[in-house]
């Protein structure tokens, strides 16, 4: 169609003989590795020429998005290299990156990226020899793996998952009899009315019946009359902590919120990250028997031993209202987490099958951002997905854009996700976001012994480091 005199000069990147040459992007730190690579050059070391080096000031600056974008834009492999731990020019940048990139690597492995394509190393300024050998080793591995091809393929026509995930087993305990939640509802209404009447709180966030049969939806009570609409039962799936920061800003606080133990862990996260002040939030902990959808117990509830939250300011049980928390009952029947068995199956399949599985999952993503909207820990006023300069997450609703969004979100939640599964519940495409987040959480638990829990004082693992963190690098 419309052209001008003379076509634009697009550099020819394909070699004349048509043979594939690997494209390896190296993100290297300025002070150590870049200098080391320079030394390899001045020492006249020969090594494979397929690395395109991008210099950063510190490996600590390597955002997972840089790696994702490299693959998206055609890299067959990515190599990240920085100063040795302890030698970072900025003292600790590489100690953060060690954790962050370890978690990223396990996430990318989980979604099926051939691990021969992602490498980390420590190369110091004097290690020109090491650099040249490193590049040769990486190149050999990438040649073995072959061209990556399209990072995110549209999987529309092949929507049969390559394997089945095991169905959850039977619930370890029965649905509670109606009398229990009814009793809790009575105590909740009475407590909420009292807190509002005495001015101890400006607002109570709870649940109430929705317009569809059995549906429970969030409800906001400002008067004791409105408090009479609050209800509790085993269908109160919503994590109400998501409303807390906004309502605190709106009302000036304090605000009471009805929380299950999982919801309360989200409040702990908000406290940990200074989004909420403890004195502004009144946690009304309900004794939760688990969340049921029709006759199915929610997956996370199978193994949940924490019927009440240790963070509760008030605990509502069938027997009455108690100030503070109560010790957990020992008679609660729990079973194995069905998601663990599903994760295990995923993790033992070959990477290529995992890749196909996740490509199909992400292909269904319509970028409604419901996962973000329902998550109490996705509270950023300006989300990375909305950033235009640069546009980190492509706006196109296709494989590449969807991968970028879902993987970035999983990384942003790494070590912070409190396993409420709201994202998976909300997703209109039934994408197994719960498994994605569990996989990352599992890696963090294994490596760093950390689980995002109810203790706000415990720092999130990617915001800190140990000098003896495991390496496992090339």
């Amino acid at each position: 169609m419309s052209t001008t005199a003379g076509a634009p000069t697009v550099p020819e990147t394909r070699p004349a003989d048509g043979q594939w040459r690997p494209k390896i992007v190296a993100l290297v730190c300025n002070w150590c590795t870049y200098t080391g690579a320079d030394m390899a050059g001045t020492s006249r070391r020969t090594y494979a020429p397929y690395v395109r080096t991008i210099r950063l000031l510190c490996s600590g600056r390597v955002d997972p998005l840089l790696i994702l974008q490299a693959f998206e834009q055609g890299a067959d492999a990515v190599l990240v290299s920085g100063c040795h731990p302890g030698d970072c020019h900025y003292v600790q940048g590489n100690l953060y990156s060690r954790r962050r990139l370890t978690v990223l690597r396990s996430l990318l492995d989980f979604v099926g990226l051939d691990q021969r394509r992602l490498h980390y190393a420590w190369v110091s300024a004097s290690e020109g020899v090491k650099w040249s050998r490193l590049v040769d080793e990486v190149t050999a591995k990438v040649r073995e793996a072959g061209p990556l091809g399209q990072w995110a393929r549209p999987a529309m026509d092949a929507w049969q998952p390559p394997f089945e995930l095991p169905e959850p087993g039977p619930a370890p305990r029965p649905k509670p009899a109606e009398a229990e939640p009814e009793a809790i509802t009575g105590h909740l209404r009475e407590l909420a009315a009292r807190l509002l009447d005495t001015g101890q709180v400006k607002l109570v966030i709870g649940h109430t019946a929705g317009s569809l049969p059995g549906q429970m939806v969030p409800s906001f009570a400002r008067t004791s009359q409105e408090a009479r609409l609050l209800s509790w039962n085993e269908r109160c799936a919503g994590n109400l902590a998501v409303y807390l920061p906004g309502k605190l800003k709106q009302t000036g606080g304090p605000v009471a919120v009805v929380v299950k133990s999982c919801d309360a862990r989200a409040v702990a996260g908000l406290l940990r990250e200074n989004q909420v002040r403890r004195e502004d939030a009144v946690l009304l902990g309900v004794e939760c028997a688990g969340i049921w959808h029709e006759e199915r117990l929610a997956a996370r509830c199978h193994s949940c031993a924490e019927a009440v939250s240790p963070l509760a300011d008030w605990t509502l049980t069938a027997n009455g209202t108690v100030q503070g928390s109560v010790p957990p009952r020992n008679d609660r029947a729990i079973g194995p987490d069905p998601r663990s068995a599903q994760l295990a199956v995923l993790q033992e399949r070959p990477a290529a099958e995992r890749r196909e599985f996740w490509q199909q999952e992400f292909d269904r993503c319509i970028r409604c951002y419901a996962c973000r909207a329902v998550c109490p820990l996705c509270y950023c006023a300006s989300c990375i997905a909305d950033k235009q300069r640069p546009q980190w997450i492509p706006t196109a609703i296709d494989g590449a854009g969807n991968m970028a969004w879902n993987l970035t979100r999983a990384m942003h939640l790494a070590g912070r996700c409190i396993d409420c599964d709201e994202c998976a519940r909300a997703c209109p495409a039934d994408i197994r976001l719960d498994l994605l987040n569990r996989a990352v959480a599992g890696e963090i638990a294994d490596r760093y012994g950390y689980q995002a829990g109810a203790d706000p004082a415990l720092a999130a693992p990617l915001t800190t480091f140990q000098t003896d963190d495991p390496d496992g690098f090339l």
Binding site: M1, S2, T4, Q388, R389, Q391
Partner: protein, 275 residues
């Protein structure tokens, strides 16, 4: 049906003029030399390849129709990219879109153009048209306001316009925006306007500026006895398709790209307060 409503035609930047430190006017020549016609008030979507599109009014009147001009301020990704381009480089253009100023209806009337900040750019085309057809119109008053002296646009042209018969140019900066050498007015536009003491009779007021300025101007005009039908403005909203399809630029049932951008105060009153 348009064969490729989203594919722009190509234009080369043939000249540029920096109005202020962040506002630039571009002169663009078509590459394909097909006739391009538009009416004052219409706008186009200007493409910076690699970055995206931005909507600007076509700043020159059809009386100077062998090229088009636009005036834009660097605000975001696309405009920043546009400012990085230089004379000789190629951008895209699609348009003209929207309705236009009813310049024929203004004949024999006395006209007051009130432009606040970048709003002056939207008035440039109808104003130039009127001045190019001077004999068809009555007295012309141009009231141009900006935050400060450095934010004044079209400074050379203002001098030229002031020298035309029966054209009064009043320039104003916000209080605090004046410099020792400033010889224009100091004050907010609605106040300066009221000071001019215009009579509603036989007048049309064409006003464009930020929403807050428009709001206070409409109040002043009301106080001075102007009828909403005598007041014309041009709206802007975030825009993408400019064809009335993408659903973004509406104020109530009024789509700025399709039913506007030109609108009278009377019509604006009927719309929900969502400017």
């Amino acid at each position: 049906m348009n064969a490729s409503g989203y594919v722009p035609q190509l234009m080369r930047i043939s000249a540029q003029r920096d109005e202020t430190s962040d506002v630039r006017t571009l002169r663009l020549d078509q590459l394909n030399r097909a006739p391009l016609s538009w009416r004052s008030g219409q706008f186009g979507l200007f493409s910076v390849f690699g970055l995206g599109e931005s909507a600007f009014t076509i700043a020159n009147p059809p009386t100077r129709g062998d090229h088009i001009e636009c005036t834009f301020r660097e605000m975001g990704k696309v405009t920043a990219g546009l400012r990085r381009l230089s004379v000789g480089q190629v951008i895209g253009f699609r348009g003209p879109y929207g309705n236009s100023f009813p310049v024929e209806e203004w004949r024999t009337k006395d006209l007051i153009f009130v432009g606040g900040g970048m709003g002056m750019a939207a008035l440039h085309s109808p104003l130039r048209y009127v001045l190019d057809n001077r004999d068809d119109y009555g007295d012309v008053v141009i009231l141009n306001g900006a935050r400060g002296v450095a934010d004044m646009v079209y400074t050379e042209e203002m001098k030229e316009w002031a020298s035309i018969r029966d054209v009064q140019v009043v320039r104003a900066v916000d209080p605090g925006g004046e410099t020792p050498e400033w010889d224009g007015e100091v004050g907010l536009i609605p106040q300066i306007f009221e000071k001019l003491g215009p009579q509603p009779d036989n007048h049309v007021v064409i006003v464009c500026g930020p929403p807050v300025m428009l709001h206070f101007m409409l109040q002043s005009l009301d106080r001075l006895g102007f009828h909403p039908e005598q007041i014309v403005t041009t709206l802007e909203n975030r825009m993408k398709c400019a064809l009335g399809h993408c659903g973004r630029c509406n104020i109530g049932p009024f789509y700025v790209c399709r039913d506007g951008p030109v609108i009278t105060a009377a019509e604006l009153k009927l719309l929900p307060p969502e400017v």
